[in-house]
């Protein structure tokens, strides 16, 4: 199972003041807060840990078809692993000056992921081309839709498949991760 999350650092700086009283405590465990304050760049660490939690939330929600919940503090970051209840997920993060991007996965499967640096829906088009090519179906047969829990899925000829897919966009960035 997979999940992803991207944070536009410039937009995050405008939208969120993580130094606000009580903010970190609502989202991060004490050990995570320590990790933030010990980091060379606490701001990057806040958004890295946040994207890890969000990416794992998406993977976990999809894996068990869970209804939406706002529980970031329940996702425990330990190094690159993230735990929720008794389940653990591996994550890999990419950090640049402009964004932080995390992919979460349960096993080292054959997923691909791509980050787009424009605000258009280009990433959805690229994704559709890619799916049509790999599955050898017509481009027009492929669509991306959300299910009742708000989880995105791949439809072929208007029928949901079980292809794991995760989408994320924030500010100037969009990304997909898919396992075909």
């Amino acid at each position: 199972m997979i999940g992803n999350d991207i944070v536009d650092l410039e937009l995050a700086a405008v939208q969120s003041n993580w130094q606000r009283k009580g903010w970190l405590q609502k989202i991060f465990t004490e050990s995570e807060q320590n990790r933030i304050w010990k980091a060379e760049n606490p701001n990057q660490m806040v958004w890295k840990l946040w994207s890890m939690k969000e990416a794992v939330y998406k993977a976990h929600q999809r894996r068990f078809s869970l209804s939406p919940k706002y529980n970031p503090r329940d996702f425990i970051c330990a190094d690159t692993l993230v735990g929720i209840d008794t389940y653990w997920y591996q994550t890999v993060s990419k950090q640049t000056k402009k964004y932080v991007y995390t992919i979460a996965y349960t096993d080292d499967t054959n997923f691909i992921s791509k980050v787009f640096t424009d605000k258009s829906l280009e990433y959805k088009k690229t994704l559709q081309y890619y799916i049509a090519d790999i599955l050898d179906v017509n481009l027009s047969a492929v669509s991306i839709k959300k299910d009742d829990n708000g989880i995105p899925g791949v439809k072929i000829h208007n029928k949901f498949t079980d292809i794991p897919l995760s989408l994320s966009s924030h500010g100037s960035f969009s990304a997909f991760t898919i396992n075909l």
Binding site: S16, G22, K26, Y70, N71, R73, D74
Partner: protein
């Protein structure tokens, strides 16, 4: 506090974080903060902190879990006000 007063206070709190103004104009109990109002998920923490300040209550993890819709938020706030 009546439910109407509570709703009006909640609307004032969430307004600065709303990214879909059209949905905000048609706000109902079923309105979802993230899916409908397009509030950034990291800003939900700010909504929760603002709610705590405005109503003088503390929202624990169980309350926070549910605060994704107008209806659920009103319920959480009312429960905390009663317990105060």
């Amino acid at each position: 506090m009546t439910k109407e007063e509570l709703l009006s206070k909640l609307k004032t709190i969430i307004e600065p974080y709303v990214q879909n103004q059209e949905e905000f104009q048609h706000l109902s109990e079923d309105t979802n903060f993230i899916d409908d109002l397009e509030i950034n998920s990291a800003n939900l923490v700010d909504v929760i902190l603002d709610v705590e300040d405005e109503f003088g209550i503390e929202i624990d993890n169980d309350g926070m879990d549910k605060m994704l819709t107008v209806k659920a938020s009103i319920q959480v706030i009312q429960d905390k006000l009663v317990a105060k």
